[in-house]
Every structure is written in structure tokens, then in C-alpha cells.
């Protein structure tokens, strides 16, 4: 089984609506990263969360980390076509900063007009 499970696997949302993507870890989280990927392209860093309860925002995207639940959520407010893509969460597998991230399977987000 995957160390990081993302839900949903795919999401179709009407433009202007809000949405949430979840990332749940089967192991202790020492750091959680959110990336966005356009189809067939590299990953773009969105946010990094390192402390339980931490919440960060960038434009209309907000991410939270629940350390106890070993879970992170990514919330997009008033979605736009530019938000479409694949969102991946990545987790640090140790607290030694060894910089080897494990990634989830991704959530494919489609925005319809």
C-alpha cells in the first residue's frame, strides 16, 4: 500500500467553486509538501508545512497540516481554469532532513466553465 494516499484521485469542479484535496500518511509526518503538475511537465512547488496545525496560503490555495491525524488538506477557493492540473503531496520520511520525499499518487483536477 502507498505511504501517502490522496483523495480524491480525480476531481471535476465548476469554475468558481471551492474544493479540497486530502493527503493521508500511513507513517509519521515530519514535513509535508504540495506540488502542482501540468500534464507532461515537471512539478511546481506550492507549499511546505512542517509543524502540526500549520496553515499556509498562496493566492487562493490554502494548505493545512494535522500532525496527529497524519493528514494534510489543500483547499482552493473560487477555482479558476489555471488551477487545473495534478496535485501531489510529498512527505519527508525522516526527521533528519535527508531530503528524500515520498509522493502520493496525485489528484487530477479539472475545472469546467
Amino acid at each position: 500500500s502507498q505511504e501517502l494516499e490522496q483523495s480524491p484521485q480525480s476531481l471535476i469542479v465548476q469554475e468558481g467553486k471551492n474544493l479540497t484535496i486530502n493527503c493521508t500518511s500511513s507513517k509519521t509526518l515530519y514535513g509535508l509538501y504540495w506540488y502542482k503538475q501540468k500534464y507532461g511537465e515537471g512539478l511546481i512547488f506550492l507549499m511546505m508545512l512542517q509543524k502540526g496545525g500549520e496553515e499556509k496560503s498562496h493566492e487562493k490555495i490554502t494548505a493545512k497540516l494535522d500532525e496527529k491525524k497524519q493528514q494534510s488538506s489543500l483547499h482552493i477557493t473560487a477555482s479558476q481554469p489555471s488551477h487545473a492540473g495534478i496535485y501531489l503531496c510529498g512527505a519527508d520520511r525522516s526527521n533528519f532532513g535527508n531530503e528524500k520525499l515520498t509522493f502520493g499518487t496525485g489528484t487530477r483536477l479539472t475545472i469546467i466553465p
Binding site: 506540488y35 507532461g40 515537471g42 512539478l43 511546481i44 512547488f45 532532513g97 531530503e99 520525499l101 509522493f103
Partner: protein, 113 residues
């Protein structure tokens, strides 16, 4: 500013043929370098990482190998490709100072036929 270059963007190779994917980083020194593979329907899988010239760590047993002949150059190779080697390959780097923020290349779509 730092940039990462990965090529080729797409590659179609027959089974049993060799492989060489190249990745270079500019604007930084002594980065940690990574090769990830993204297979269809699966998350990103870390294949190799390197903390310095000639230092390669393999994360999973496979038909591939990696080399780092220069500080900012990372090469992914195979002597004989298998069908299962098909996928999207991503090179990435980190600063190597404990900050796990990964910067990704644009990826190579490899199809083995």
C-alpha cells in the same frame, strides 16, 4: 537564479535498446540530485539520489543505473530497456542544506515499445 535542464522531452525506444537521459543544474553548487519516475496511475517513485560527484544511492532494484560525472550533471542510463521502464522521468535537485524543497525538471516521457 538556479535552473534545471532535462532532455530529451520525449523518447521512444525499442525493447533491448540502451538509454541515456541527462539532467544539468545551473546556478548552484554541490546540489543533491534526484531521479524520479512517474508511471501511469502511480505516484512519483524515487529511483536514485546523489549527494556528490560519483555518489549514487539506489532506492529500488531495477534495470536502470545513474551516474554523476560532474557536480551539476546527473545521468540516468540503461543497457537494455524493458517494457516496464516506460514512464515519465523527472530529475530534481535540492540545496542540500536540510531544506527538502525539490526543484523539478520538465521531465522526459519515455515509451518503450
Amino acid at each position: 537564479s538556479q535552473t534545471i535542464h532535462q532532455w530529451p522531452a520525449t523518447l521512444v525506444q525499442p525493447v533491448g535498446s540502451p538509454l541515456s537521459l541527462e539532467c544539468t543544474v545551473e546556478g548552484t553548487s554541490n546540489p543533491n540530485l534526484y531521479w524520479y519516475r512517474q508511471a501511469a496511475g502511480r505516484g512519483l517513485q524515487l529511483l536514485f539520489y546523489s549527494v556528490g560527484i560519483g555518489q549514487i544511492s539506489s532506492e529500488v532494484p531495477q534495470n536502470l543505473s545513474a551516474s554523476r560525472p560532474q557536480d551539476r550533471q546527473f545521468i540516468l542510463s540503461s543497457k537494455k530497456l524493458l517494457l516496464s521502464d516506460s514512464g515519465f522521468y523527472l530529475c530534481a535537485w535540492t540545496q542540500g542544506n536540510g531544506n527538502e524543497k525539490l526543484f523539478f525538471g520538465s521531465g522526459t516521457q519515455l515509451s518503450v515499445l
